[in-house]
């Protein structure tokens, strides 16, 4: 039998041996017999001189092909037998519930607040805080709410000693930030622009029911610059509304009155639940009131010493609870301060 025929017979034999091996030992025996240092393949390699000179090259190539083929088979068999060995242990059940340290939660009001503040931060507004215990100047006078004027009716306050009160709106922070800014830069030509949002707690002595609480959160915004227009106000708040409620939301601005802005507006957004057709959530109006806004009243600029001719500004303020209740479908404002874990875990 010519050498090459013998070689092919050996290959078949080896392939069977590898395929038939069912343990690491059997496989190793097969490897030693055929691929080992004194195995059959090695033996054929040394007998290659028996081949006629003109066929030597082809025979050598064939032997190499067979060698690498057998090595591949061997590696495959090794994996097969190894896997079988692992399978002897029980399989994991991938449908079992995952194991995890219990996660906590961030309060839904904070989530709403952070979400709103975050949008304005991306638009260049810096988050600023201010005191909750205030004086009459910052809570009323500087905001163009003179004593003995009915504008103060909307903002009855909690009274502390020494004429201190609890702020009834976060607009107080506008005043404090502007005062600080003017103190540092002056309120004239050299004053850099201001862009802030101030989230925080406010207080009004209202009776508590499903939609009212004597303590609630607001987010207030203020932009002061050389050429701020009401169109900018609409532009910024429009972006805010679309980022918050989705790109399809529509906005509506209605004339209104706030002592610290002129012109003033109420901002409505189309109801996200019915798309503006009118439903239970929006009380069939198709619109939901988001908050108040307007152009900073010149009297406010006077109160803090900013040049009312050089600068213009806009301000806005939203009640966080009301917007959060609307967005999350919460039906009672008291849920927020009750902190029932069954409620908190939902968010």
């Amino acid at each position: 039998m010519p050498l090459l025929d013998e070689v092919e017979a050996m290959r078949e034999e080896a392939e069977k041996a590898i395929a038939g091996a069912d343990s690491p030992d059997a496989l190793e025996a097969a490897r030693v017999a055929y691929l080992g240092r004194s195995g059959k393949l090695k033996d054929f390699m040394s007998r290659i001189r028996e081949v006629p000179a003109d066929q030597k090259k082809a025979a050598g190539q064939r032997l190499n092909e067979i060698k690498s083929g057998l090595e591949t088979l061997f590696a495959g068999a090794k994996d097969r037998i190894g896997a079988k060995a692992v399978c002897a242990r029980p399989l994991p059940d991938p449908t079992l519930p995952g194991r995890i340290q219990p996660l906590g939660s961030v309060h839904p009001l904070t989530q709403a607040l952070e979400r709103f503040a975050g949008i304005f931060e991306r638009l260049g507004f810096t988050v600023r805080q201010g005191p909750e215990i205030e004086d009459v100047f910052h809570n009323f006078d500087a905001l163009n709410m003179p004593d003995d004027h009915p504008v103060r009716d909307q903002a009855d306050t909690f009274a502390l000693e020494d004429n201190a009160i609890l702020r009834s709106q976060t607009s107080t922070v506008q005043i404090r930030v502007m005062e600080e800014h003017v103190g540092r830069h002056g309120g004239g030509a050299g004053m850099p622009p201001i862009r802030i949002v101030s989230p925080g707690r406010t207080y009004r002595p209202d009776a508590v029911d499903a939609t009212h609480h004597y303590s609630f959160s607001q987010i207030e915004g203020l932009a002061v610059d050389r050429d701020v227009a009401m169109a900018d106000l609409k532009g910024f708040l429009g972006m805010f509304a679309r980022e918050t409620f989705g790109s399809g939301v529509k906005t509506r601005f209605r004339p209104s009155f706030f002592p610290f802005t002129e012109p003033s507006a109420e901002m409505d957004v189309s109801c996200v639940f019915c798309g503006g057709k009118g439903c239970r959530v929006c009380k069939r109006q198709g619109w939901v009131e988001l908050g108040g806004c307007g152009m900073v009243d010149p009297n406010v600029f006077d109160a803090v010493g900013i040049d009312r001719e050089l600068f213009t500004g806009f301000a806005f303020g939203f009640g966080i609870e009301r917007v959060a209740m609307f967005m999350l479908g919460v039906d009672d404002i008291r849920r927020f301060t009750e902190n029932d874990l069954r409620f908190l875990r939902q968010f």
């Binding site: 340290q101 219990p102 996660l103 906590g104 939660s105 961030v106 309060h107 009001l109 904070t110 260049g124 507004f125 810096t126 988050v127 805080q129 005191p131 909750e132 215990i133 004593d147 003995d148 004027h149 009915p150 009716d153 909690f158 009274a159 502390l160 000693e161 609890l166 622009p193 707690r201 207080y203 002595p205 004597y214 303590s215 932009a223 610059d225 050429d227 227009a229 009401m230 169109a231 900018d232 609409k234 532009g235 910024f236 429009g238 906005t251 601005f253 209605r254 004339p255 009155f257 002129e262 012109p263 003033s264 109420e266 152009m295 010149p298 213009t312 927020f336 902190n339 029932d340 908190l344």
Partner: protein
Amino acid sequence: MILSYKWLRELTGAELGPRELADSLTRVGLNVEEVEDAGFGDHSMNADITTNRPDWLCHLGVAHEIAAIQKLQVRAPAISLEETGPAVDTLTSVAVLPGAEEACPRYTIRVIRGVKVGPSPDWVRERLLAIGQRPINNVVDVTNLVCFEMNQPLHAFDMRKLAGGRIILRMAGAGEKFNAITGEKCVLDPTMLVIADAEKAVALAGVKGGENTEVDDSTVDVLLESAWFQPGSVRRAARKTRMASESSYRFERGIDPGMTARASARAAQLILEFAGGELAADVIDTNPDLAVPHEASLRFARCDKLLGYAVDPKEIDEIFAGLGLETVSRTAEAITVRPPTFRQDLKREADLVEEVARLAGYDRIPETVTMPLMLSHVMPETRAGRIVRETLSALGYHECVTDSFVPADWCPPFAPGSRQYEVRNPVNAERPALRSSLAPSLLEVRRTNRLENDVRLFEIGRGYVKTEAGPDEPRRLAIVDDRGVEYARGAVEALLKALSVSGTVGIAESDLPGYLPGSGAALSLDGVPFARIGQVSPGEAARFDLDAAPAVAEVEMAVISSAPENERAYRPLPRFPGIRRDVSLSVPEAVKWARIEKTVRSAATLLDRLEFVSLYRGKGLEPGFKGMAFAMHLRAADRSLTDADANQVRDAVVAACLAVFPGSALR
């Protein structure tokens, strides 16, 4: 404010349906919230009137707005009087006593004698019912009707009940008593203006009439008051006496000073028509010239700049004309106008800009952002708040938001020495205090969730503390953790890590009255105290109905927010392997870990890291002893340590511990 649709149509001739009319008013800022069928073929429109527009508190004022929107003419009722009686000043007089002039700049009187009091005609009764008013009799109904037509509160006195038949305006005497027509009784003070006769107060000016001079079925002669009272003075009197009325509501917002006599004439005419009688000639008027027209200017360029789009000056001319603003001067750049006296709100350029924006429509203002880019900053407290929330919620803590008001006895055990504020007018009388500690609020939340296990809570909020320098509002983080003090401390330490706080944390045993004695610790950062941690005392746990006392921690956010951040500089990794040696001791119960740590650190050389491993109590230990195990990770910078090196350190540490803690032993 309830408006009658039918009435508004009569005054304007507007062809709009009730809902269309409501929508068009809402678009210019007169927010109509509800439209209801009022019966008698009328609709009532419930409107929310902002305080800057007292002129909208009457139908004539709203009619002016509708006329401006719809480009119509207002059909104001014509007034023609038959003054057949003697001159009014022969029948009565008014005296303004010194001190009362400021509170009453204008007072007018008309007298109608010989009236026959009875029910009003049906149309008057229906109209009053449509706007939510109760018809009374043909004289009183007229005063109400004219008030809601012209925004001039009027008062009719039964003239025969006026002692001396004349009017004296004076400030009330201290302690002077007054019984209102509505049955309320109150005590007056000298800041309040009263309308008096020769003997007694017959009305609290601008607020309420007195029961002593009320018009009733027997009334024959009527003295009709129409006045302009100083808004602040009416407001103070109404608030002090808690007798706010339709009248005080209008006076305090500022009514039209030019309407006083006109409204009086209109009412006199209607009384004659409904109740008969004879009108005295002329009117007593203390100040016919009170209404001084004012002017305001608008620069077209400024208007465009504020609104953000160009409004054609010709359109502005039309808007102003429609609103009844009389042009005083007009150039290519600016316009100066004289508003009607009922538009006291239009004083400044910004006010006129709003009129342009309103009537042109807010929808016309484009949504464009032309302001330059500006970089925002993240303030340290903002950053810290966010990292704390992220970290603690990932560690299983639930954030709470609780009331700033608490019962007065809640906080002192957790904030001894802090003076707390109490509000003078609490809504919830059981909670008058502003909290000086956040811990009790979270314990209350723990009670709310008493059916839950392994509860972990936190809140970031303000404490409120009274100091010599004024109010202090430290921002605080409070933690409640069922698992115990070491977990609360672990959470605080995790926060320092998450915040990359640099500095050395110190710990000292320190209790608060609200803690279980011996369980408390005070943490400091480079010597600055920043946190208190302890287990709640049984007494405090009982206050909140808790069977098991959780751990509480309270952290000063200002310290950890403003602490310098670690410099994130690379330290080369160790070149040589280290060796670990574990030691397990039995020590007397009184020995705390902090002392063991101190002893180990002073005795161990080559100590790279000291790790607490476990605390054990129970089998195999003498009573009064506990097991403490720790691991020392030893390393040298310049060589591989040998077993001999490590054993030498271990032996030295064990010897030191046994020496320092009498009774202790190696386990």
